[in-house]
Amino acid sequence: MKISEIAELINGEILTGNAENGHLTKAFSSDLMSDVLTLETENTILITGLANLQAIRTAEMSDIDCIIFARNKKVMEDMVNLAKENNMVIIRTPCSVFKTSGKLYNAGIEPIF
């Protein structure tokens, strides 16, 4: 699924990254970065309500190139800059983590487990 399609599904705003990019097939929802760091998958979307620099760092180390910040969390400039530096996509949505996950699941995005 393309970034633009994902953003549209959840009324999301793309804060950085190319909207036409992406062959994203799986997603993982977590506010615990320690859990994200145990994943072994690729082409994964991270859905989280934890908006800080370490969420971006965690995605960088985990080869995750799309993060969705749920619950309209404030995304700071240093987070956007770090994401940009790593060619990542950031989407912010007013939806909750649950609603975001549900919408993406219905659209065919698969869980990791």
Binding site: L32, L50, M61
Partner: protein, 138 residues
Amino acid sequence: MMEYEYNITGGDFSKAGFASSNLKKALKQLNIPSKLIKRIVIALYEAEMNIVAHAYEGVIKVEITPEKIYINVKDKGPGIEDIQQAMEDGYSTASEEVREMGFGAGMGLSNIKNNADDFEIVSTVNEGTELKIVTKIS
């Protein structure tokens, strides 16, 4: 052989991950397979977060040879009283601040071990902790 060295300051969360990020870029330039890079930098990132979260300061030394990558992480800090307990999933002494940041779930050390081919940990209470993380390249 290539060598890298990073000084880490305890408590400085704004820079946490800088060393791991820098090493990741270096490994990419060496054309090491991305799955292998991920294992190496995840282990290093966990170790780097541990210094920031628990120690006063630390030094990360990385040696890259054609066969293996050696990472040595040495900190000055409170040390670990019971390493076996610290290696268990779910055991953590992390502060509320660290937990709010999405860490401190007591999973770091075992995740380092899972991502390493060789892992050693030595710790002295009130002095510090030293980790050796070895990854085979081939």
